[in-house]
Symmetry: C2
Subunit: 426 residues, 2 copies
């Protein structure tokens, strides 16, 4: 049941850390928090990255407190001498740091468990601004902080990703719901598509929207998402899901899923439900397609492996592609893609196989098949297919797009022939 | 020759775009600009992400102008209705937008080339704030903007990565040098290491520093960088390089390189110079090791391919690992890693091979070899080795660290036996 904010909230994210400004570490927290806050009806209004500097942190929070409904900080709450966030924010809000006995007990317990000695510096983590709550951190040492006053909330999260994410989900979201800041359910429904651009997708979605519903788009290397939200117009989750179903039917085969699942995990899920396996034969994607499968936990149930055959000799020796086929049609051809997929099934003993061969650039390519040309092969119990695409971007972009195109091709074929299998099986 | 800023500059980066705040796109520009500005003696002081909103952009720039030596914006300078940066900044600085005939000529030329018709909206890109320069953008349509007044500079860069990066290198850096904002050379030397923590590395580096030199550290999944900069103390590039050489000698085999080269590109480079090839056999890294090789342009000269054998059957059928070896020692073992590497050399006909087998998690692992345990195998003309490591982190972290550990192992072995080869060859 969706019961979302009636007015848009002002949300500020402050990421603390020199490494984010010196080109050393990607600001992955912003990406993750952006998605997870938006899903709870709290899209980020503005975000700031500051250095590990107490004065700067205090200045930002001092200026922002009052103007925002929610401030989220990441980093700088550990025990080391460059962790300033806790004290800086307390001073900015005119609060004393207070000792939290339960936080110290948890910390002592944790140190006993990992067999480390507690230092004076470690104990500094058990202090929070007066009136704030310490948030448990069973995966690390630094407790988070939740502070709520005058209808405004401030949250301090630890820097390590493996601590930040579960703390946000398990400790922060329930508290934000309790104080009426976050939605009870999801704030939007997302329809994920592949093979259709944002502009034609918008033309399909618009007619289904009711006045007051808000539509936005996200695109990632071929994947195009349409997000439909209530945005304070009082629509329920059912209303939004109803629109999403209409959009799904209108989009047809380009519809991938409702929600956030990636193409690889959808293919893995489908193969698991069918109790079937897949193998790969990769040339230009050079292992990236295999990696997208093996990033899915539990992929070993369905994923046999990949023959990454960069050199032509490897295509012949490892996969058993006939040399004459490569000599006649070239390694970048529909024929070679089809042979790679069928050979992969044989070598790995899998039920299905996908293959990719192409020119990722910057070198290579011909007049007929310029850089960016990729052939996808697909072998299955229902037959063998290949298709040609020309993909834009640099080397890494072409690799990424080729991976998504190959996964989407398999997804389509699985959907198509699953239906026919059922008919023939009946 | 290094001739760097005598006083630290205040640098603000403003990234414009809803997609950066809604969890749709990673703020890769901040990472890239962070590194490339720091290398020119212009470390980012603070960074802000704002939505595609003219008022917000104008407010940020209005507040910041005067307080910063350099402001760099990314995004929002295209021809569409949500591109506000150009006009918003002109209004914030109290400047009129002026037409730049040369920019229009270049745009007409570009549209003629790609066969598209120029619209009124496209022409809006040929206007820049009065007194500013339009920066050529041969890879896209929107020209950049360079503005300099009262010793302060403001730069507007286009959003697409493939346009932003070359424009920054080719058009912006030379202008920043001309106005005395950026260093003539590199602002720091970076010593890249692997296998040594930041704390012991600091203990090694400190004694070599001269008073006034500044030391900072960056760590990425096993790689630890020490950056030594002059920071306005008047040291020359030669002074810094002299320290870097002393550090290199003191660090010994853990020294990777001076600069920013990644482990995979160093191994590729070394193999190219030796005219030798490498093949891989991967289990738990699942294609990520192959992908790190194939991300290096020109890797096809030395990289034969990878047998990604996720299932045990694949290890037997594709690579030819004896079944009894897996039955006796298990697929995650030093014996299996060594067999995988030697079989990879045979199957691919390569000179060298690396193999990786282990438990990436979340499932798997034994009491003796818990999740995170990884065996690296290495086969070469000088012999076959394997080593065991236990790596921290979640599934993706373990994969990344295993890849770096494997690449570093090969780098070390190549260094070690190259020397001996020379002795035997003499």
């Amino acid at each position: 049941m969706l019961s979302c904010n009636s007015r848009p909230r002002q949300v500020l994210v402050i990421n603390v850390g020199d490494e984010l400004l010196d080109g050393i570490r990607e600001n992955g927290h912003l990406l993750w928090l952006g998605e997870h806050l938006a899903r709870r009806g709290l899209p980020i209004t503005r975000s700031i990255v500051v250095r590990d500097n107490a004065k700067e942190i205090a200045r930002e929070v001092g200026e922002a407190w009052g103007a925002y409904d929610l401030i989220v900080t990441t980093g700088g709450i550990g025990p080391t001498s460059d962790d300033y966030t806790r004290a800086a924010i307390a001073s900015a809000l005119g609060l004393k740091l207070e000792h939290v006995p339960s936080a110290e007990a948890a910390l002592r317990e944790r140190f006993k468990l990992i067999g480390r000695k507690l230092s004076e510096a470690d104990l500094s983590q058990c202090f929070v601004p007066a009136g704030a709550e310490a948030l448990p951190n069973p995966r690390g040492t630094a407790p988070g902080v939740f502070y709520h006053r005058d209808g405004k909330a401030l949250v301090m999260l630890p820097g390590p990703t493996l601590e930040l994410r579960p703390m946000f989900e398990e400790e922060v979201i329930p508290r934000l719901r309790d104080v009426g800041c976050a939605c009870q359910g999801e704030a939007y429904v997302q329809v994920r598509t592949f093979g259709i651009g944002a502009v034609p997708l918008e033309a399909i979605v618009r007619p289904f929207l009711k006045p007051g519903m808000v539509l936005s788009f996200g695109t990632h290397t071929g994947v195009v998402d349409a997000r439909i939200s209530s945005a304070g117009s009082g629509f329920t989750a059912d209303d939004l899901c109803h629109v999403a179903r209409q959009v799904r039917d209108a989009v047809g085969h380009d519809f991938v899923c409702t929600g956030h699942a990636c193409l690889a995990s959808l293919v893995v899920e489908q193969l698991r439900s069918m109790e079937r396996t897949v193998a790969l034969a990769e040339s230009c994607t050079g292992g990236l397609l295999a990696n997208s499968f093996t990033d899915v936990p539990g992929a070993s149930k369905v994923f046999a492996g990949s023959a990454v055959c960069y050199a032509n000799d490897a295509k012949v020796n490892l996969l058993g592609i006939p040399e004459c086929l490569i000599a006649q049609h070239g390694a970048v051809s529909a024929e070679c893609a089809a042979a790679m997929a069928t050979c992969a099934i044989e070598k790995f003993g899998s039920d299905y196989a996908i293959s990719v061969t192409g020119y990722a650039g910057p070198g290579g390519g011909t007049d007929a098949d310029p850089v960016g040309t990729v052939y996808i092969g697909y072998a299955s119990p229902a037959g063998v297919w290949s298709r040609r695409v020309v993909l834009p971007g640099d080397r890494r972009q072409v690799k990424l797009r080729a991976v998504n195109t190959a996964l989407d091709f398999m997804r389509r074929q699985l959907n198509k022939y699953r239906v026919e299998d059922l008919i023939h099986g009946a």
